[in-house]
C-alpha cells in the first residue's frame, strides 16, 4: 500500500535477515609435509579414481592421508563424520564430481 503522505511503500523483509554472520575460514596449511589430510569420498561414481590419484600426490609431498566416505552423496555428511575429520585431520579434500 502506498502511504498517502510520504509516497513510500513499506514491505516486510522476506529473508531471515540475521543469517549473514561471517564464519571465518579454517587456517590454511603452509606445508603438506607431515600434515594429516582427509580425503572425503561423497559416494559418487568414480570419485575414488580421482581421490586415489590425489592420495598419491599428497604422499609425494609428505602428507599422511586418511580416507573417509559419506554414506550418500544426496545428504549432508553426518555430524559424527564431520567431527571425526575435524578432530583427526589438518585439512580435507572432498571429491564432488561424477
Amino acid at each position: 500500500m502506498r502511504n498517502d503522505l510520504t509516497m513510500t511503500t513499506t514491505v516486510l523483509d522476506p529473508t531471515a535477515g540475521t543469517a549473514t554472520s561471517q564464519v571465518p575460514k579454517a587456517e590454511r596449511l603452509t606445508s603438506l609435509d607431515g600434515a594429516v589430510v582427509a580425503l572425503l569420498d561423497i559416494s559418487k561414481p568414480r570419485g575414488d579414481v580421482f581421490l586415489n590419484r590425489v592420495s598419491e600426490r599428497l604422499a609425494e609431498h609428505g602428507a599422511t592421508v586418511m580416507r573417509f566416505t559419506k554414506p550418500t552423496f544426496a545428504r549432508v555428511a553426518p555430524l559424527d563424520l564431520r567431527q571425526e575429520i575435524a578432530s583427526q585431520c589438518d585439512a580435507v579434500i572432498e571429491a564432488l564430481a561424477d
Binding site: T8, T9, V11, L12, D13, A16, A19, T72, R75
Partner: protein
C-alpha cells in the same frame, strides 16, 4: 481470525457504553433516548465520526476507532454493559422493547417508532479495514520493515533485493501479511520448520510474508504451512534436494475436500498454468527455501539444467471419479482428510497410448516409459510417480483393476534382466556394474512407484513425474495433515 496478541484495548469503566456516529439516522434518532438513559444512569458515549456528537452527552472521541475496533462493533448504535471491565451483553440498532429491557427503564423514546435498524460501524468499513488492521494489529509482526523509496518501483525493488524466483512477487505489505495470518489459527511467532541450507527457523509470520509474495490467498495458507513443515522433516531431505545437480524439486500433491474449498485444479492442464492455488502454493514453498533458507540457483542449488517445475509444482489429485484409492489414504491418512504429500521430483514425462483397450496392454505401455526414466539401464535408486489420466483410468476401472492389481502387473513388467543393464551393454558405457550380470532387478525399489489420478476428461495420455534419489540415501516422500495448520 487468528488468536494474535492484540494491542491492548483502552480501559473501560463499568456500566453502560454506547457507540454512535453522526452519519447514521438511527443514531440521531436515539440521541434523545441516550439523554433519558444518562439522566437515570451513567452512560459513556463513544462517537466514531464527529467528536461533538451527540451534543449534550459529553461524547468520548473514538474517531481513531480504537474502542470500536477492539470491541468488534459492527453496527451503530450499539449499547453495551460492562461489569468488572468485562462486557456482559450488547444490543444493536433501536428497539424500544430491547432498550427498556436492557436498561431497566420505561417510557424510552416517546414518539419514536418502535424500532429502527442501525447503520454499519466505521470500524468494519471495508475501505478502512486494511488501515485499521495495521494500526491495531501491526505490532504482532516482528519482521524488519523495509521502506521502498518514492522513486523506486516496488516490483523492481523485490527483484533488486534478490527476493524473486524470476517472476514478479506481490509486495508483502503489513496489511497483506496480516490478512494471510488470518488464514491460520497458529500464532505468528510459532516455528514451522528449520529451513536449509542456512538452517534458519521459519516462523508462521515469515512463511506468511513469502506466501503473500508468491500470490497465495489466506485460505491457501494452511496448505503452505503444512508443506513447509513436511519439507523440513529429516526424511524428506530438503537440503540434498535443493543442492542436487539433478532436475528434482519438491512436488506437492494435495488430497481431500480442501482442494475444492480453495479451487485447486485436479483436471485439465493439471500441471500447467492457469490455476492460482496450484501455481502459488508450490511457489510459496520454493520462495521460503530461497528467501529464508538462502537456497539459490548457482549457489547451493547446483542443478545442471533444472526444470520449470522447480518454480513450484503443486496439484490436486482427481479423487471424485478416481478408480483408485487416493495417494493420501494409501499413505495412511483417513478417508476425507485434508492432506498433502511431498515428492522429490519433476515433470512431466508423457506416456502416449491411444489404442490400448485392455489393462494388460495399457500397463505394458506404462512400463515401457517407466523403464526409461533417468536412463533405461539405471535402476532402483530413483522413485517415480505415475499420473494416470481419466481416460486411461477408465480402462482399468472397466476391467475391475484397482491400484494393487495394477501395481502387481507393473512390478512384474518392470523386473529387468541385468544382462541388458550392465556397463557396456548395448554399446552404452552407462549402466550397472559387471557384478550384477546374470540376474534380475526391479526398476523401482519396493514402494518406489507412486500412482495418482489426475487430468482432464479427454485425452489418452498419462505421464510420469520423475523422481530423485529415494529412501534413506536421498528423499523419502512425506504426507502431512493440512488441518494441523488451519
Amino acid at each position: 481470525m487468528s488468536e494474535m496478541t492484540l494491542i491492548p484495548s483502552p480501559p473501560v469503566t463499568d456500566g453502560l457504553v454506547a457507540v454512535v456516529k453522526r452519519d447514521c439516522p438511527t443514531c440521531e434518532l436515539v440521541t434523545s433516548v441516550l439523554e433519558q438513559v444518562a439522566a437515570a444512569d451513567s452512560v459513556v458515549v463513544f462517537t466514531q465520526d464527529d467528536p461533538a456528537f451527540p451534543e449534550n452527552l459529553s461524547p468520548t472521541d473514538d474517531t481513531n476507532l480504537d474502542f470500536s475496533w477492539h470491541h468488534h462493533i459492527e453496527t451503530v448504535p450499539t449499547l453495551l454493559r460492562f461489569v468488572d471491565g468485562v462486557e456482559q451483553e450488547r444490543i444493536v440498532g433501536w428497539s424500544r422493547e430491547q432498550w427498556e429491557s436492557f436498561t431497566g427503564l420505561t417510557d424510552l423514546g416517546p414518539g419514536l417508532p418502535d424500532h429502527r435498524p442501525g447503520c454499519g460501524s466505521l470500524s468494519v468499513d471495508p475501505t478502512l479495514s486494511d488501515m485499521l488492521a495495521v494500526r491495531f494489529r501491526g505490532d504482532v509482526l516482528v519482521s524488519k520493515r523495509i521502506e521502498i523509496a518514492e522513486l523506486e518501483d516496488e516490483m523492481e525493488a523485490a527483484f533488486d533485493r534478490g527476493w524473486s524466483d524470476g517472476l514478479p512477487v506481490i509486495p508483502a505489505t503489513e496489511a497483506r501479511v496480516l490478512r494471510m495470518l488470518d488464514g491460520t489459527s497458529r500464532g505468528p511467532q510459532e516455528v514451522v520448520g528449520i529451513i536449509p541450507p542456512n538452517l534458519v527457523e521459519a516462523t508462521v509470520e515469515q512463511v506468511a510474508i513469502n506466501a503473500v509474495m508468491a500470490g497465495c490467498k489466506p485460505e491457501y495458507f494452511p496448505v503452505v504451512l503444512a508443506a513447509v513443515e513436511a519439507a523440513c522433516r529429516d526424511e524428506f531431505n530438503l537440503h540434498g534436494l535443493l543442492a542436487t545437480t539433478y532436475f528434482a524439486g519438491p512436488v506437492m500433491i494435495v488430497n481431500g475436500p480442501v482442494t475444492k474449498r480453495i479451487n485447486m485444479n485436479s483436471d485439465g492442464n493439471v500441471f500447467g498454468q492457469g490455476n492460482r492455488a496450484n501455481m502459488t502454493i508450490g511457489r510459496a514453498l520454493q520462495l521460503v527455501v530461497r528467501n529464508l533458507g538462502g537456497g539459490r540457483p548457482g549457489e547451493v542449488d547446483m542443478a545442471v539444467q533444472g526444470a520449470s517445475s522447480k518454480l513450484g509444482l503443486c496439484f490436486a489429485e482427481r479423487e471424485y471419479d478416481s478408480p483408485f484409492s487416493s495417494l493420501a489414504t494409501e499413505r495412511g491418512t483417513e478417508e476425507g482428510a485434508d492432506a498433502l504429500t511431498l515428492f522429490a521430483g519433476f515433470g512431466p514425462t508423457p506416456i502416449i497410448d491411444q489404442l490400448s483397450r485392455t489393462p494388460e496392454s495399457l500397463a505394458r505401455s506404462f512400463a515401457e516409459v517407466l523403464k526409461t526414466m533417468g536412463h533405461p539401464k539405471l535402476v532402483i535408486g530413483f522413485d517415480a510417480m505415475l499420473v494416470i489420466s481419466p481416460e486411461h483410468g477408465h480402462v482399468f476401472a472397466d476391467a475391475g483393476w484397482d491400484k494393487a492389481r495394477l501395481r502387481a502387473e507393473l512390478d512384474q513388467l518392470l523386473t529387468l534382466d541385468t544382462d541388458d543393464l550392465i556397463r557396456g551393454a548395448n554399446d552404452i558405457a552407462e549402466g550397472l556394474p559387471e557384478a550384477f550380470a546374470g540376474s534380475q532387478v526391479p526398476k523401482y525399489r519396493a514402494g518406489g512407484l507412486h500412482i495418482v489420478h489426475a487430468g482432464g476428461n479427454a485425452g489418452l495420455f498419462s505421464s510420469v513425474l520423475g523422481g530423485w534419489v529415494s529412501g534413506a540415501k536421498g528423499s523419502e516422500p512425506v504426507t502431512a495433515l493440512i488441518s494441523a495448520w488451519a
